[in-house]
Amino acid sequence: MPLTYEPVATTTLSTAASSITFSSIPSTYTDLRIVFTGTGTTSVGIKARFNNDSGTNYSYVEMLGNGGGAFSGRQGDLGYFALDTQFNLSTTIPTIRTLDVFSYAGSNYKTTLVHQSNNLNTSGNIIAMAHLWRSTSAINQISLLVFSSTIAAGSTATLYGIKNA
């Protein structure tokens, strides 16, 4: 039986970097999943882009709980996926981002479910997001990036491919 859930690539930063990029993603899977855990060299927001597209082709809706209240919001026409809507990377405690990209090689717009799990002992939140990338191109590159500062050394991101048969 072919493997259903395969690691495609993994990166653990040996030095701080402004991005982690998965390129040359094969089109042979059905869905993709990225699991990121890490910190920032400063408290910096982390974002994602597909195929290096910096056009205003991204939008999302989110729901959030921060221990004090529940919220929901949305933004459209962004130049990136926001993985930091309420919580930047900590400089000391790793937090989690997961991205589930469905039918990434298809010819429809691309839906991604994002999960942010942040708990720094004294504060925290948990966020579920639905993102849309308005492109009919197959995804062959995914970048996790920060626009200022860097993702800290030791941070890890893994790309998994999921097959439906």
């Binding site: 699991v35 708990n119 925290g124 939140n125």
Partner: protein, 173 residues
């Protein structure tokens, strides 16, 4: 290529138990996933379950919960460390029989020497109110590698027969 997503252990209760411990977890994976089906013998319609790593029962867990019950959504955090991490709202004796909550706990980098973030996502739906959909962000403050995970009722009730906990290891290469 070795399998990326492997079953490590499978526990299905044939009688009630106060805790379920997944032990002797090998250090050869990158992340862990626990997928569970759970119900307790609490007298009401629901109970809450928690987890501990490596049998640590001291105040070593921080958590933030986000929960919807079909009528309201709310978030809560104790804003202090607790003696267990939060997992889920589950069905109890007051709900329809044969109805169990289901969910998943994801624990990345469980062998690292850092504090241990994890998240839980669960659903307890029983064709009645209240029903629950819960997300939880957890942090285990201990920096030792995780070699065991214990699930328990926050209210000291028992898991009933049929509750199951499946532990999977995920390799990133």
């Amino acid at each position: 290529m070795p399998s990326t997503y492997q079953i490590i252990s499978s526990t299905t209760l044939t009688s009630s138990a106060a805790t379920v411990t997944l032990s002797s977890i090998p250090s050869t994976y990158t992340d862990l996933v626990v997928r569970f089906t759970a119900r307790t013998d609490a007298s009401g319609t629901n109970d809450q379950i928690a987890l501990r790593f490596n049998g640590v029962t001291t105040s070593s867990y921080a958590w933030t919960r986000f929960r919807g019950d079909g009528a309201n959504a709310g978030s809560y955090s104790p804003n202090t460390t607790e003696t267990s991490g939060y997992v889920a709202q589950v069905d109890a004796a007051g709900t329809a029989s044969n109805t169990f909550a289901n969910g998943e706990v994801y624990i990345p980098n469980y062998t690292s020497s850092t504090q241990k973030p994890s998240y839980a996502f669960s659903a307890a739906e029983d064709n009645a109110t209240p029903a629950y959909l819960t997300l939880a962000a957890n942090l285990g403050t201990a920096t030792t590698a995780i070699s065991s995970i214990t699930f328990l009722s926050i209210n000291s009730n028992n898991f009933v027969s049929g509750s199951s906990f499946y532990l999977y290891g995920i390799k990133n290469s």
